[in-house]
Symmetry: D2
Subunit: 320 residues, 4 copies
Amino acid sequence: MRIGILTSGGDAPGMNAVIRAAVRVALGNGIEIIGIRRGYTGLINIDVLPLTRDEVSNIVHTGGSILESSRCPEFETELGRRKAAESLAHQGIEGLILIGGDGTFRGGALLAEQTEIDIIGVPGTIDNDVYGTDFTIGFDTAVNCALQAIDRIRDTARTFERVFFVEVMGRRSGFIALHAGMAGGADSLVIPEEPLGVEDICRRLIEGHRLGKKSAIVVVAEKENPGYSYQIAQEVTRITGFESRVCVLGHVQRGGNPTAADRVLGTVLGAAAVEALTEGKKGHMVGMVAGKLLYTPLRDTWEKKKELNPRLRELMQMLW
Amino acid sequence: MRIGILTSGGDAPGMNAVIRAAVRVALGNGIEIIGIRRGYTGLINIDVLPLTRDEVSNIVHTGGSILESSRCPEFETELGRRKAAESLAHQGIEGLILIGGDGTFRGGALLAEQTEIDIIGVPGTIDNDVYGTDFTIGFDTAVNCALQAIDRIRDTARTFERVFFVEVMGRRSGFIALHAGMAGGADSLVIPEEPLGVEDICRRLIEGHRLGKKSAIVVVAEKENPGYSYQIAQEVTRITGFESRVCVLGHVQRGGNPTAADRVLGTVLGAAAVEALTEGKKGHMVGMVAGKLLYTPLRDTWEKKKELNPRLRELMQMLW
Amino acid sequence: MRIGILTSGGDAPGMNAVIRAAVRVALGNGIEIIGIRRGYTGLINIDVLPLTRDEVSNIVHTGGSILESSRCPEFETELGRRKAAESLAHQGIEGLILIGGDGTFRGGALLAEQTEIDIIGVPGTIDNDVYGTDFTIGFDTAVNCALQAIDRIRDTARTFERVFFVEVMGRRSGFIALHAGMAGGADSLVIPEEPLGVEDICRRLIEGHRLGKKSAIVVVAEKENPGYSYQIAQEVTRITGFESRVCVLGHVQRGGNPTAADRVLGTVLGAAAVEALTEGKKGHMVGMVAGKLLYTPLRDTWEKKKELNPRLRELMQMLW
Amino acid sequence: MRIGILTSGGDAPGMNAVIRAAVRVALGNGIEIIGIRRGYTGLINIDVLPLTRDEVSNIVHTGGSILESSRCPEFETELGRRKAAESLAHQGIEGLILIGGDGTFRGGALLAEQTEIDIIGVPGTIDNDVYGTDFTIGFDTAVNCALQAIDRIRDTARTFERVFFVEVMGRRSGFIALHAGMAGGADSLVIPEEPLGVEDICRRLIEGHRLGKKSAIVVVAEKENPGYSYQIAQEVTRITGFESRVCVLGHVQRGGNPTAADRVLGTVLGAAAVEALTEGKKGHMVGMVAGKLLYTPLRDTWEKKKELNPRLRELMQMLW
């Protein structure tokens, strides 16, 4: 048996732990495993390398993806996917492990319609916005990265009377903002799930000031518009008169050595993906839900909406 | 209503997140909350302070415990516990939140036999060896701390041909060793749960050498005897001829800012402990199992044995 | 003898090491030392506390300033400074240690004209733009903080073809940008000292692309206009067609535990400041130049311009 | 012109910054540069690779050495060195850059006696015990690593009454112990330069206890006998009755991403080494003393003794 593995979409710390686990479990079971470079681009162009034990030595602790990633507009066309299918057939690849987010899985599902290939998805994205797993690989690292920034700002926030806006990643979801904000003791969140207006933020800041808080930290999910914290900050300063300062973390959150949790999760899911293929499973993403492996149809991963933990949202209100 | 809160036993990063959440939820519900300093010692000697919103500001990110901890031999006597009970009655404290490990809960259970006090335990220990919760507060931080040490050694391990022994905490259990070892890509584990002899380690190291590995990392749980990695290392060098180096992390693992996961867990359990007391629950520890709050009778927390994740142990063998 | 100590202006990691050293050396020499809170504001309002050995225990490793800082417009008036002088006389303070940057020293120099007080400055600012010392306290920590962000971006930069803009602090000087950029292997710098136009950056990026570089990192000093990297990025994308991403570190750079170098420097200068006062020195800032203590007239600290190391600037060009 | 470059002895963070700078400056000056792998072993066995711009991309931030290191007993024989000389002649290498400590330079000096080769040394060792440079490359990273461990222990030290022994590297010198101990606020040092007996330590600990200190941190340089802190700790406990705990950092200090200071120093010295060779300098080590490049005859680097900063030693006594 011969399988392929690729990473696609935005890279996430812990992807290399997935690759390492998949390679070692595959080889241990007599399965050949081919690394496809640069995501669907490498699939179409047959930019591949056979993966060996050595190839995945000393990578478990590294950020990024040794297979690199890319966006591939060609793959969004039927012609592109036909080329990809031919490439797989040409190489004799019978199973394919896709590490990425919902965009990656959409592409994979379309590919599966045009070919006999067995596909298993592994959720690797810092955003955590994939249905079918409690946490995605890379999320814990990104949250801890954002948290370190908040902690550092807290050191200086005690000294001056100011409102600090910390903008974190999260296009369609506030997972990073909620977890980092709660862990960092933030005063307020601006997240896609909550249509909180600038007036609401101001009301809270003024109330905090009345209670004796010297400064405040607001965590903002970037949504579609990185840098838009500057507008919020200006508005808040105009309304409240409080000085404001902005920090936009951006891609800093994508890098760095993965945390223990992301490496352990990546290892478990990477191994499970190979075993799923050997057992004939296909068209599913393997995730970890309530401590157990769970296989979710690929389509559900983007059609169903993963909700923020309502208890954490409630506690953000209570603990403030 | 008036409740007390204390930390006892070895301190763990994240304990302050528990205290902060408990205080803010208590005050938000009109409950007075008294901090008892230095664990059972402060309970006996009435070394206490009323906790306010301000008292728990700017502590969520700090290691250690603002209430400090201690060991209290006096509390192990019936007389000592009677004094503690009188102290509680004297102060009008009706409910008590205990943050610690199984030793803390044993003491609490004995106290509950001598008094009407309602007790709720919160699992705070880096060792993770408490039944009734998937993870204890402080464990994730300790694992990441050990992992950073392994990562650093990996940088230098690539250069020289050596066996590195990294000794981590874990008196009766190998949780830290297993998680840090898996995340760090260790070659071998020495843990209380597995009667692995020096010969077994040597066999694996020699086999690894044969496969082309230049160096190896063995993670050792300290058991009852911190520093005993030196003996293992000597034995291994004697048998295999490989040079060896030892690193004993010790209390480094107890300190440092808590990770996001430990703060979120501490926050959720701290809030739940207060709510449990308001709902009349008692004699239980509140933990998080499979993503849900679970209340376990205090006695079970030490009588039942929490097992290492068998899948992770299996993967340690397969991935090597 | 009785002396005072205060921190003023933007806080910098390592200020607490200065305070600790000054207090312990003062007390060891039988000198009383008074902490003045919130900079010149606390001086005018007599918001002070006597500092003891205990008061400065367990602070050497912390960010921020235990004495807090503030900006004090009142002190900029002659009336405000007269109040400050009276406050000093009233408290019997004969010598004053000022920890801060050039704004702090300007204020101190004006105060010295109106009073008999002996003043010694200690350079504490992350910007490093103070004449009379090779490095200011806090600079090394800020550079390492910026560097960690660059390193993290590098992980992800290898995967996608993009230009990353990392905006660091530096209103009038490019010290942080130059040191972090060199240490981080940045492709280009935008600093106040160099009137590099957007066209120059684009030329370099295009040349790098031609040489096979997949991505590029540009480090930008924020100047007077935090967030202005967004404009540069837009311009660069418009001209070159390269995708761009922006990260604005902001006050993250002010916080965090100080590095070893900042604590050692802070300790040495804090001790020297007390000794200078006992020896009757005044109106000077104590700095470290070429490994030796140097006393520079306060006026020189802002009138003379400290230059970037020309060799480092040259190497930025050569190493690229 | 064609030159070679190698790393030898214990590896040190920042060595890769030296290699990167040397390669880019060499290529920029039309000089071919050959990487010799595994130190003198690769020189004898002609295990080499030509270094290109790309080869040194994305390495400036990494620990260890891309050229790897080794100990080479063969090179200690005249025959071995003759082979090395022949290897150099065979490859047409006219100049050689040696990155390492005094052992590396001794070998190089002996080699220079048997051949016409021009040799320039670059001080790369975490121990800082090389005459002719204020700091060696890797020292700042090692100190900050040890410091983080001390900081973490401080968190837990506040909670329990104990003496903590933190053993750091330093065979013949106490540089790491002194700098990390001062920055970490340690109570006492055990270093080769000071024949401090266990009784002296105990006297200080008892005095500290009397002054109200709850716990103490003693930093120990490992000398020739890693792990010997356990003996000291036992003795101290026997004499004072204080509980003690030990942490042995070991090779953790050799790894990790280099700090900004180590990368900047490595970059400057790597560039200077190439320029020295082009200017016909030889038989010298290039170092940085008082902020200036200094060339020291190789022999002096090990014959002259570099002293600990006496002011820092004095301050350790005063600040306690």
